[in-house]
């Protein structure tokens, strides 16, 4: 585990206000989800998951085919598809288009993919104003932070912190009533929507058979982003494809329920190309930027490519006992929680933060709630093994490997095992709890491990002895 990871975790664990905020928010989302999938309101929930998994699997296994079909369909409706191999290519496209169209102001709706490539920062670096319009994203943009949670980006901010931010950045009188804070943001952002030259959105699904970009949201900012400006650019990872619009009958039911416990989110937009002949409003230009940025590398791994089935609902974060303690900012990238723990090592390499796949109790809650049934615990185990192999190649972890070799040898030799057990029993004082922390082997790496653990004092007679005396 890196010192930075350790430090961030420690910071989060020792901040009682933050602990309460994470606990309450994730707890509420867990409860809302649970109510929305109860058998009387969603009797076919498990079948939906099975079907969603099958569709995602099929699509990912034939991704080239669906990418080509999607491209043809977008073009048939007057839009354009741009493939980008990385963050730089994606932002270069936006920059050159903005320059050609003499654009100055860009409004953005919430998108993890644009967070992944730091699109706003890249645009602002070139003197373009890029404004996040989802309330939570707007708050964290004002605070210059990254999202704390996939669906609730400002989950860690209290109303007092929001009040300070609004006063400091917008110069408005201090306001601590949440409704009024929301209305301040609404007024500021409404002006931006009406003045913006370009709207940039993400995509929840890309529909191959119709070239449609599907966006789900509750606020209406994504609708405004994709309807008010004359240019709409959707930025999405190549894994967002689904074959048919009809498949949305499955995915939309799962996404709203898993994310916030809604049967359907307030707005679901099906966007297929620019405004047509007799339509009154909508953008004149429509672009879809399809991003690789490491996804093809991940795709090559047959065992772990299911990580790309993720529909970014955030349910695994809310249900994860580790995320609920260490929060989103402990993770070294924009993706956090169990899905982050499997995506980050695969995108950035296992040595980027070797502690990540180990930051899990492998309780399996994430796999149980995943709407597309990604086997996150199994992938975590594979990544653990990759971390250890990488360490071995670098000559690290020698002592650990030696210890495990000795352990394995002892376990295979019953006599030695029994002698070792007796030796351990003789070292232990018979009654007091916490004896392991005073035992002579409590040194070096074992010390850290034992600091949080205890063992009951050994029994006077071992099971083997009792069995023999029976």
């Amino acid at each position: 585990m890196s010192a930075a990871f350790d430090e961030k975790i420690h910071e989060t664990l020792t901040d009682p206000k933050l602990q309460l905020a994470i606990y309450k928010a994730t707890g509420r989302l867990v409860e809302e989800r649970r109510k929305s999938i109860e058998p009387d309101v969603c009797p076919d929930y498990q079948e939906l998951r099975t079907h969603a998994h099958a569709i995602k699997r099929h699509t990912i296994e034939h991704l080239d085919h669906y990418l080509e079909e999607f491209t043809r369909q977008v073009e048939a409706h007057g839009g354009q598809v741009i493939f980008s191999k990385d963050a730089e290519e994606a932002s270069d496209f936006v920059l050159s288009l903005a320059k050609e169209r003499r654009a100055h102001l860009i409004v953005k709706s919430k998108s993890m993919t644009t967070e992944e490539i730091d699109l706003s920062e890249r645009l602002e670096h070139h003197q373009l104003e890029s404004v996040e319009t989802d309330l939570g994203e707007y708050i964290i943009q004002l605070a210059h932070e990254r999202p704390y949670h996939i669906v609730a980006p400002a989950l860690h901010k209290t109303r007092e912190q929001v009040a300070d931010l609004l006063t400091e950045r917008l110069g408005v009188p201090r306001e601590t009533v949440i409704e009024k804070q929301t209305m301040i943001a609404r007024a500021v952002l409404r002006e931006k929507f009406l003045a913006a030259d370009i709207g940039i959105s993400g995509a929840n699904f890309l529909v191959a058979d119709s070239g449609t970009v599907v966006i789900v949201e509750n606020e209406g900012n994504a609708r405004l982003t994709t309807s008010a400006p004359r240019i709409h650019i959707a930025v999405a990872g190549i894994e967002k494809l689904i074959p048919r619009a009809q498949d949305l009958a499955v995915f939309l039911k799962l996404l709203g329920r898993s994310a916030t416990g809604q049967r359907l989110t307030v707005y679901t937009s099906f966007l297929s190309g620019p405004k047509r002949g007799d339509e009154i409003d909508g953008p004149d230009e429509f672009y879809v930027v399809l991003l690789d940025n490491g996804r093809t590398k991940l795709l090559a791994d047959r065992g772990k490519r299911q990580s790309l089935y993720c529909i970014r609902c955030g349910a695994c974060l809310n249900h994860c006992p580790v995320y609920r303690k260490i929060g989103g900012h402990s993770f070294p990238w924009v993706y956090s929680g169990p899905i982050g723990a499997i995506l980050i090592p695969q995108f950035l390499g296992v040595r980027h933060e070797p502690g990540l796949p180990f930051a899990s109790s492998l309780c399996g809650a994430c796999a149980e709630v995943c709407p597309v049934k990604i086997d996150i615990p199994r992938i975590l185990l594979e990544l653990r093994s990759e971390v250890k192999k990488a360490e071995a190649r670098e000559g690290a972890g020698r002592l650990e490997r030696l210890a495990f070799r000795i352990w394995a040898w002892v376990m295979r030799h019953p006599r030695i095992y029994e002698m070792a057990g007796m030796a351990a029993a003789s070292l232990a004082p018979s009654e007091s709890a916490g004896w392991v922390r005073h035992a002579p082997f409590n040194v070096g790496p074992l010390r850290a491990w034992l600091s949080q653990r205890d063992l009951p004092p050994p029994a006077a007679k071992s099971f083997r002895q009792l069995w023999r005396e029976r």
């Binding site: 496209f93 939570g136 109303r159 509750n218 606020e219 190549i238 009809q246 690789d292």
Partner: protein, 210 residues
């Protein structure tokens, strides 16, 4: 730019060749329950109200018009070009402006009007959802910019749910550049999980079933 590069990388990763055929896709899963119109209306209204929307079952065009008039209450309103609105006489109510075909004019009025009024191409009974297809009759911004939103739905437009909608419209892209499903008023819970309505879209929504 990287079109062929990315596609090539995808194929290599999957061990596929260009134009290689595709295995059979699992069939679409669309379940349309039996449900009479009366049950659809009841379920629809119940769901809209559960989301803090208001509903009104109009027994005549005049009744629909009166309800709309009460909601507008003398404020400014912009109506779409949906035929149902002129049939009910809503477009001729005082304060209501309609008949826009120019984007800039429409936008200017939408950003100042108190109420937006549209028809609905369909409505979904099991979720309380309005379905609007962008066209000459329905602009995108009317249901979005004004703080109060009124939708008028014909009762024979009520579908059981999303599955039935996608059975009727397997490819919405063939009809329109924009289909939107609207389920309740605009809302957020981004600050301390406190629910606030009307953050960007309308915070007040009225559905009249005719």
């Amino acid at each position: 730019m990287s079109h062929e590069t990315v596609l090539h990388k995808v194929r290599t990763a999957l061990g596929r060749t260009a134009a290689q055929s595709v295995e059979a896709l699992p069939p679409a899963r669309l379940l349309v329950p039996e449900m009479d119109v009366e049950a659809r209306i009841r379920s629809f209204c119940e769901r809209v109200e559960a989301l803090a929307g208001k509903t009104h079952r109009a027994h005549s065009a005049q009744d629909a018009r009166d309800y709309a008039s009460r909601v507008i209450a003398g404020r400014t309103a912009i109506a779409s070009n949906a035929t149902i609105l002129s049939e009910c006489g809503i477009t001729s109510l005082p304060g209501v402006q309609a008949g826009f075909t120019d984007r800039d004019e429409l936008r200017a009025l939408c950003s100042s009007a108190a109420c937006g009024i549209t028809g609905a191409d369909y409505a979904l009974a099991d979720t309380g959802t309005l379905v609007l297809l962008s066209s000459l009759h329905e602009a995108r911004l009317i249901s979005l910019l004004p703080p109060v939103y009124i939708a008028v739905v014909e009762r024979n437009r009520l579908l059981t749910g999303l599955d039935e909608l996608l059975t009727i419209l397997p490819r919405p892209a063939e009809q329109t550049s924009s289909m939107v499903l609207i389920t309740g008023p605009s809302r957020t819970a981004d600050i301390e999980q406190i629910l606030v309505r009307g953050v960007h879209g309308p915070g007040e929504i009225h559905v009249v079933v005719v």
